[in-house]
Structure formats: structure tokens, C-alpha cells
């Protein structure tokens, strides 16, 4: 657990970056600090490992005040990931990752072994081991940064905008992998971001800060969306928060899934016509996994790949209302494809069905 007790930081020039901050990051959870630029997120984070000393107040690490600890020894207990990775340019990837174990007195061989293990863990191929940082892309460097922070298996991690230096596609991928990793390792993490979507996607709890370094609200992502504390939080969380809060509402059984006739590739135009509901027919493979929608009237001869419309998303029955609604809205037939956890077709839903289920739900149940 990391706890802030009325922490204030005033820089020598008079800027009050953090003002009377009380905060608790529970053990094993991912706590996110989010807020507009300059609201004191980085300052707050760096006060934890004492790269910045608070002006007043106390920070506790598992109930011990950090102020009395040797700063270097304190930092060795806390994994630290910075924005642009900050890799050592003169060391190979494997040596970069082995930094912390070596610092803590592990043998070279053990440290390297551990580093190779971590490379696999964060999805870096073994062939990168003896490359240098300049030979890696930004996203790959970011992974090395995460691996390096994990190498000493610290109980705590601090991450300052770890995914901001990469493009949206890579960012989403890194976020997914990181969530999976955190589910396995369950570290006490404080992560800084200015991207509210990232905060809502990753955080077990989210602390929204306002300029001037004050805490505006500390809540779970779904609470932030459904009951923002004030106008500032509501604005910051965003306009389509109603729709996005559906992302935290479990669908589990509350929406009736209708039966859908299907055809396979190679079917005749006549068969496709017979199986179609309205203008569209759903095409699946031999394992009943949905491939896409087709319009029988455009099929001459047999149904082939190029007849498929791929615009529809598919939702898992165990997913969220948002996924179900999106499946319905994105489908050309307006019938959303629902699958089981193996990706096999269960049936389809309409937007009307989903909305009815949402309206029937008096209080929103969170998916996690």
C-alpha cells in the first residue's frame, strides 16, 4: 500500500504543484493518477520514490514513512518506468533489463537469466537480447522499460505515462498486454496518464486531479462515469460518458439472443437467399465461427469471400453492454453477432433488445 498524507509540494519559484493531497493506493491494485497537463501528476509520482522531496506531509509505504529511509535503498524497492523508457544507450537490451538484479547483488549469470525470462514475459523476442536500444522501435523500448522495472520483482511500481510515446494501435496493444501481465503479477502500481480513456481502461481505481494539485475525485472507473463528483470531473471524463459507462456493465444473460440462420462459403445463391433474413445472411466457417455478412442478391453462382461485408464487430455473451450494442450498431444487417468464449456463434441481438435490457436494469452492475 502507498499512502499520501496531506502532501504539499511548492517549488522554489513558488509554484504549488501539489496541494494537500490525501491518497491511498491499495496493495495489489492499479491506481491511476489522471488530470490535465500541469496538475501535478508527475510531481506526485516522483515524491513517492523521493526524486522530489515533499514540502510538507508524509508518504507511507506499507505504513512506514518514506522520509526516514535511505533514498537509494527506497528506490530499489520500487520499480520505476518513465515516459521515454530512459534506457541506457550503451548497454544491450539484456543488460538493461538485468540492471536492477545486478544492483541488488545477483550474480551476472542469474541476472541475465532473469532478464531473458522477462523479455519473454513482455513479448520481446530473444533475438533482441544483444541489440542496443537504438535498434528498437519506440514501443519495443517501452516494453524493455517495463521489463527493466519488473526485473527485481519489486512490490511497488511507478509508471509515468508509460504508453504515451507510441502510436494508438501499439498503445492499445501494450495496454492489453499490460493488463494481462498485471492480472498475473498483482503489483501495487501507481500509473500517471493524461489520457482519461487509458485511465478508465486500465485502472482499478482512478484519482482525478485538477490544476493546482488537488484531488478532484477518487473512484472506480464506472463510478467516475456514472457519478462524477463535480462539473470538472464530469467534463474531464468526457461527453459520451453515458455510452462509455456501458463498457462497465456486464451483459451476462440480460439480453435475449435470437437465433440466426447461417450459410458457409461456397453456398449457392439460392441457398443464401433462402437463409437470409431481410437483405442479409450471416456467413460462418465449418466451426460456426462468424466470417461476415453477405447480400444474397449480389451473389451469382456461389458465395465467395469477396461477397463478405466485414464491418460488423462481434460481442462475447460474457462481455459488456457496450460490446453488445456496438455489435448491433456496426452490423450491416443491424443484427449484432454474439459468440461464446471460443468465438462460436450463439446468435444475434438488435440494438432495441440491448437498450431494453439497459433500461430494465435499475442499478448498473459493474463488469469487474
Amino acid at each position: 500500500m502507498i499512502r499520501f498524507e496531506s502532501i504539499t509540494k511548492a517549488y522554489p519559484d513558488g509554484t504549488v504543484a501539489v496541494n494537500g493531497l490525501d491518497l491511498e493506493a491499495p496493495t495489489g491494485k492499479l491506481t491511476i493518477l489522471v488530470g490535465p497537463s500541469g496538475c501535478g501528476k508527475t510531481t506526485s509520482l516522483r515524491m513517492i520514490n523521493r526524486l522530489i522531496e515533499p514540502t510538507s506531509g508524509t508518504i507511507y509505504l506499507d505504513d512506514q514513512p518514506t522520509s526516514g529511509m535511505d533514498a537509494a535503498l527506497l528506490r530499489r524497492r520500487i520499480g520505476y518506468v518513465i515516459q521515454h523508457a530512459g534506457l541506457f544507450p550503451h548497454r544491450t537490451i539484456v543488460d538493461n533489463i538485468a540492471t536492477m538484479p545486478l544492483l541488488l547483488g545477483e550474480s551476472r549469470q542469474k541476472a541475465r537469466h532473469r532478464a531473458l525470462e522477462l523479455m519473454e514475459r513482455v513479448g520481446l523476442p530473444e533475438t533482441f537480447a544483444n541489440r542496443y536500444p537504438w535498434q528498437l522501435s519506440g514501443g519495443q523500448q517501452q516494453r524493455v522499460g517495463v521489463a527493466r522495472a519488473l526485473a527485481s520483482d519489486p512490490a511497488f511500481m511507478l509508471m509515468d505515462e508509460p504508453f504515451s510515446a507510441v502510436d494508438p494501435v501499439v498503445r492499445a496493444q501494450l495496454q492489453e498486454e499490460f493488463l494481462r501481465l498485471q492480472r498475473e503479477i498483482g503489483k501495487t502500481i501507481i500509473m500517471v496518464t493524461h489520457d482519461i480513456d487509458e485511465a478508465l481502461k486500465l485502472g482499478d481505481q482512478v484519482a482525478v486531479m485538477r490544476v493546482g494539485g488537488k484531488l478532484a475525485q477518487m473512484a472506480t472507473p464506472s463510478e467516475l462515469l456514472t457519478s462524477p463528483a463535480d462539473e470538472f470531473v464530469a467534463d474531464f471524463v468526457g461527453r459520451d460518458r453515458g455510452y462509455r459507462s456501458l463498457g462497465f456493465t456486464a451483459a451476462a444473460g440480460s439480453v435475449a439472443v435470437g437465433e440466426e440462420w447461417t450459410v458457409q462459403l461456397g453456398a449457392s445463391a439460392a441457398e443464401a437467399q433462402a437463409k437470409a433474413t431481410g437483405a442479409w445472411v450471416l456467413v460462418v466457417d465449418a466451426g460456426r465461427r462468424p466470417l461476415g455478412w453477405a447480400q444474397p442478391e449480389q451473389v451469382h453462382g456461389e458465395l465467395r469471400k469477396e461477397h463478405l461485408n466485414l464491418s460488423g464487430t462481434s460481442a462475447q455473451a460474457s462481455g459488456t453492454m457496450r460490446q453488445l450494442l456496438d455489435a448491433a450498431l456496426s452490423s450491416p444487417s443491424r443484427r449484432g453477432v454474439v459468440v461464446n468464449e471460443h468465438g462460436e456463434l450463439l446468435g444475434t441481438v438488435t440494438a432495441t433488445d440491448v437498450v431494453k435490457a439497459i433500461e430494465a436494469e435499475p442499478h448498473l452492475e459493474t463488469a469487474r
Partner: protein
Amino acid sequence: MINYLFDPAHWSGADGIPTLIGEHLIYSLIALAIAAVIAVPLGIYIGVTGKGVFMIAGLANALRALPSVGLLILLVLLISPAFPSKMGYILPSLIVLVLLAVPPILTNTYAGVRAVDAAAVDAARGMGFRTMKILTDVQLPCSLPLMLSGVRSALLQIISTATIAAYISLGGLGRLLIDGKAQNDYSQMVAGAVLVALLALFFDQLLAFITRRVVSPGLTRRTVKATLPSGEVIPSETAKTPTAV
């Protein structure tokens, strides 16, 4: 010139070519060592702390504009009365050479330390490196390429300028230039100039070689053969943006 160089008589004795080269090298290397001992720690200190940055530009430019022969004669006048022996001449020569070599080493060391990626230093501190370890493990290895290129240009300057020792009747390859001039022996003068040039070239290559050995390929972005931990050798991609050492 060829005749002069290939005359066996010139390759032996107290004023033979080997002796002159030896003297030349001793002056040069002692001066380089003293300059490095002064300039490297100073450059690191200024680079790391940011204190005394004004010295870099001011001192370096002032020393660069130094008239070496004039200064040498001034120093001899000041110093030689205090030292009865040959020391009274050697010391002034060394001082001039050291003063020439300090600016390139100082400015490059400073620039090298400044150029170290601030994020890497921040990460090191954040991981619990103490100040000394940050210096030895991150700042120094990363500033090595620039520092060594400063040493390289300092050594070139020293070797070519060490000829001035002959002005005040000391040894070194400058002898061939001064004596050749006095005797109107052009082949001797040219031989001296060529030997100085060869010596400079040799040491330049030597330092380039040392630089390649001690500077991490991660900094020079040289393409190296990478070995897998299993021992298997794989060629790494070619460098996209090769930078000179």
C-alpha cells in the same frame, strides 16, 4: 628529402632521427597526460554540476588564440632563471603544450557529459543508483565518444606544435626544421615535416582504434554481429543513421 631520410648516418647518434622521435614523443605524451588530468575531471565536474559553464567558452577561446611561440619565449624568460638545468627550458615547452591541449579536451568532455540522455540519468537515479555509480556507469561511458575525440584533436595539436621546443634548443623533430633552416638544408627540413606528419597520422589512427574498442556500439550505432545467448551468431540490421565517432 628521400636521401636525407635514407642516409644511415641520420639514424643513429645523440641527434639521430630515432632519438629525435623519442624526445618528440616524450614531450607530447607527458603534455597530453597532464592536460588530460586537468581537463577531464574539470570537464566532468562542470558538465555534471553545471557550475562554471562560463569557464568553458571563455577559457577555451582564450587559450585557442594563444600565440605559442611568443608564450614559450616569455615563459623561458620567466622560468629558466629559477631552474639552472635543462628543466628551465623543458618546463616552458610543456606548459605551452598543456595549455594547447586543455581546451579541446575540456570542451569535449563537458559537451559529452551534457549530451548524455537526461532520461537515462533520471532512470538510473530512480532505480536507486547513487551519485558516484550514475557517474561511472552511465555518464562516463556515454560521454566517452566525445571525450576521446577531444583527446584525439588535442594529441594532433600537441604533436604538431611540439616542434617549437627546438626554438629554445631542446630536442624533438623540430630540430630538423630549425637546423635545416639554419644550414639551408631543405631536404632536412622537409624530412622533419614529413616525420611530424607521419607521427601525427599514426597516433590519430591509434586513438581511432582505441576509440572503437572502448566505446559501446550502442553509442556509435555501429553494426555489430549479435550473438544469441545460446551462442548462435546472427547478423544485426545495418545501421540506419550511422554517426561518426
